[in-house]
């Protein structure tokens, strides 16, 4: 038969010629490939293996369950028409796919920690565990049903062992077991069980020819692409729309209060910086009425990643990273009558802060650091944010401001429960002269104590963090492993108020 003959054949003739020209003995790889069972079952088992274990590095705790649940979904989708047990597996896997993908999207938002810390999360965990148990049971029954249908003795010990194994893992998790011996034994048992399940799947190859995969309306490839596109779109939306706090920015109301103007003039005369004075609320200005002394300390910081500058020294060209100051932090202490002091910590971005999401202020007031011996708190901490946009001055309250008790994992002292004042907020994109302050009142208990008041500003530098972490959470976690995504700037106002010769630091 000439080559031209093949070209000239009509479609029907070509079909017949191809049919009659196939070698009688099919190749082994084709015989292995052509089965209704192996692909579906291998996908389901591989998915089961990937979703049962959790590896907390390189993002595998997110990638493996996502890949695993997709594989299980495709596997059980093909097997769902075979018997009710596999159909049950498919339904449960579909629900788990929605849950896992929803959690992947949730992780891209700053609300993930809040949701995981709620009771709702406990309910979801319990439901997930129940679904896994039910699915393992249905899988075990499904294996047996296939064997019975093919006239083979029913046995699926691997699947039953997986149920016991998972029950043990849940018990240890409930008991918060952290030892290594049982853990290593469980990992070893897990490997053996997966091996046993794969062996069982191979044994079922002969019975698997009896199954009838369900027809699909959407191809596997389209389904996978749609799922990945949905989760990618969800993550992008999470980052775009739920990456920062909803702040209530509104135009600043111009104060016409004559009393306030008088107090401002007095404070200004005592050395209170004018631009900071203009940022204070009328209430805070009025609270400074009758001030006798003002101490001010200003520092400049660089919060960016620096810029590389080429320099020449002795004929040698070298690169140097230069850090430009772009954040000014000012501490102001105002002495009032009766041994009272009002402390202000004010920050101002000198250029675009490159707001990426969230910011956090942690306050260590003077009365907090000196353990209630030298100073005592009067009232609560207050403050506000300001910025310039389109020639208008906008102001907003902090998203949250107040004392919070949390577990801090200290490098030196281990985990300890501490209480600090935190102010959480987000700055507007494109806002100019972004600034804000926090202030508190205190009263002197004993002479001889210095005023030592700290503010820790945590600035987010990276737009994409997965899972999303707020500056507040980052600071409270004491984490060191976010690879420059955040920068911590610490500033202190420190002086001895009883020293008559005390001078304002420059």
């Amino acid at each position: 038969m000439s080559e031209r003959d093949w070209e000239l054949m009509k479609d029907a003739e070509l079909d017949l010629a191809l049919k009659n020209s196939i070698p009688e003995l099919p190749p082994d790889d084709i015989v292995m490939e052509v089965t209704p069972w192996r692909k579906a079952m291998n996908r389901s088992l591989a998915g089961l293996a990937l979703t049962t274990i959790t590896l907390n590095f390189l993002g595998l705790n997110y990638i493996l369950p996502a890949v695993g649940v997709i594989m299980m979904l495709l596997g059980f989708r093909a097997l769902r028409g075979e018997n009710g047990w596999f159909k049950g597996c498919w339904i449960i896997t579909s629900v788990r796919t929605v849950c896992i993908f929803a959690s992947l999207i949730l992780n891209a938002t700053i609300y993930q920690e809040t949701v995981y810390a709620s009771r709702l999360s406990d309910v979801f965990i319990a439901l997930n565990v129940a679904m896994v148990f039910l699915m393992l049971f249905l899988l075990w029954k499904g294996f047996r049903a296939v064997q019975i249908k093919a006239g083979l003795p029913a046995h699926a010990g691997g699947a039953a062992a997986m149920i016991v194994w998972y029950a043990l893992v849940c018990l240890l998790a409930a008991a918060q077991y952290t030892g290594w011996i049982i853990l290593i034994a469980l990992i070893f048992a897990y490997v053996l069980i997966i091996r046993s399940l794969l062996k069982l799947s191979r044994e079922l190859d002969e019975a698997g020819y009896a199954i009838c995969p369900a027809a699909v309306r959407v191809s596997d490839r389209t389904l996978v692409i749609a799922l990945l596109a949905a989760v990618a779109a969800g993550i992008v939306c999470g980052r775009l729309f739920f990456n920062s706090y909803p702040m209530q920015w509104q135009p600043v109301e111009i104060s016409g209060d004559a009393g306030t103007a008088e107090i401002k003039a007095e404070l200004s005369g005592l050395g209170f910086p004018g631009d900071i004075l203009n940022d204070l609320t009328d209430e805070d200005i009025k609270a400074c009425e009758g001030a006798s002394r003002v101490f001010v300390e200003t520092n400049f910081y660089s919060a960016d990643e620096g810029r590389v500058v080429e320099r020449v020294k002795d004929g040698v060209i070298y690169n140097e990273t230069v850090y430009d100051d772009n954040l000014r932090i000012t501490g102001v202490a105002v002495e009032l009558d009766g041994g009272r002091w009002k402390i202000f910590h004010h920050f101002r971005w000198l250029n675009d802060p490159g707001a990426c999401g969230t910011e956090s202020l942690q306050l260590w007031p003077a009365y907090h650091l000196q353990r209630q011996e030298g100073w005592s708190a009067v009232g609560d901490v207050s403050g506000r944010l300001l910025c310039e946009t389109d020639g208008r001055t906008l102001t907003a309250p902090y998203y949250s401001l107040g004392s919070e008790t949390y577990d801090y994992d200290s490098v030196f002292w281990g985990t300890e429960t501490v209480t600090d004042v935190f102010a959480a907020f987000s700055l507007p994109r494109g806002g100019e002269s972004c600034r804000g302050y926090v202030t508190y009142d205190m009263v002197k208990l004993q002479d001889g104590w210095m005023i030592n008041s700290w503010i820790n500003y945590t600035h987010q530098r990276s737009w994409f963090l997965y899972p999303a972490v707020t500056a507040d959470e980052y600071r409270k976690s004491g984490s060191w492993d976010l690879d420059g995504s955040f920068i911590l700037i610490q500033d202190a106002l420190q002086f001895f108020p009883d020293d008559e010769d005390a001078e304002m630091p420059e």
Partner: protein
Amino acid sequence: MHESELIGLIKRRDEKGAALLLRHYAPLMRYIIAPILQNEQDREECVSEAAMRVWDKIEQFDPSRGSWNAWLTALTRNAALDKVRKNKCVVPSEDVPNEAPSSEPTPEELIVKKEREDAVREALGRLPVQDRALFYRKYYYLQSTAQIASELGMTERAVEGRLYRLKKRLRKTLGGEEHE
């Protein structure tokens, strides 16, 4: 049960071997037969016929030429096609002309067939395994588009599209365009 034990039993003409063959390999045989024979009774008769052929021709099984499953597949398929010829039935496979090949080929026809087989084998060898498997499903296993689609997790339309492209590629390869 390992297949070598089964083969040993059949070779020793132990009837237990025949029982084990049907017990473990009847699903495979039915899977091969189902797309070729529509009638349930024909199918069951064909399973018995294929099992008889295994019993009779077990000495011809040569592991160096292919696996046990491949040999069993070929034997079962031939039994089903013979049944079709015997029944004077048509092969109800979509898109495939229902012409049963002549049972007595002439020497010239045999030479042409051998040439075609070599050409097709060579052309198939150039295809990725997924495409080869699709080709075998359609032209060797004679599976319907619906069956192929459900087993591969595809829509029937997607299967038809892939088969169309595959045939186009084979026509080109067999027509010698890629040799030029």
